[in-house]
Amino acid sequence: MSHFPYGVAAWLFLVGLYGIVTSRNLVHLVISLAVLQSSTYILLLGVGYRTGAVAPIFATIPPSTPAVDPVVQALVLTDIVVEVTVVALILALVVQVHKRHGTIDPDELRKLRD
């Protein structure tokens, strides 16, 4: 349990990478990329967690209550929203690739290049 989140983060990274390597469809590849990105969120939040601490929102609790680290949460929060627009950009690239070559299968595209 003590290093379980880090293990799950490594597992998610490898699973996402496996999805990218064995993908037969560029859109499936992009979604595996999103899974790969989520591994970093779990790693960061696992680093900032304190046992027995609460969320860093001091609206109803006194400011001296032990709380988890807010800096890693700020990093992950902006990262999640920026990720979706970057996925939109990559999907726009996929649409253009399909317009030019007529296929979104990475193996076929590789054959076209040769």
Binding site: H28, T51, V95
Partner: protein, 94 residues
């Protein structure tokens, strides 16, 4: 007595967090093994909600809110829009 209550709560927190982590690990494998992109958009949005539950267990409500609105609304939207555009381009081809 107080010591045992907080120790029990701590073990409950740990149990819930490890349960959440195992579910997320299994869900990631399911997302990657789904080959059809349309089905995958549903799977990835469910994976996002599972991640948001895990973030709440890690005491991060801001991040969980962000993850829910992005992964359950915006990400499937982008995927389906791209797929619709690709399908329309296929209909144009001679």
């Amino acid at each position: 007595m107080r010591k045992s209550t907080s120790a029990r709560r701590r073990s409950h927190d740990r149990g819930a967090a490890s349960c959440g982590l195992s579910l997320v690990a299994i869900a990631a494998l399911v997302v990657v093994r789904t080959r059809d992109p349309v089905a995958q958009s549903v799977t990835v949005s469910f994976y996002g909600v599972l991640l948001a539950v895990l973030f709440v267990l890690f005491q991060a409500p801001d991040v969980a809110l962000s993850q829910i609105v992005v992964c359950a609304v915006a990400l499937p939207l982008m995927i389906l829009l791209a797929l619709a555009k690709i399908k329309k381009q296929r209909e144009h081809e001679p």
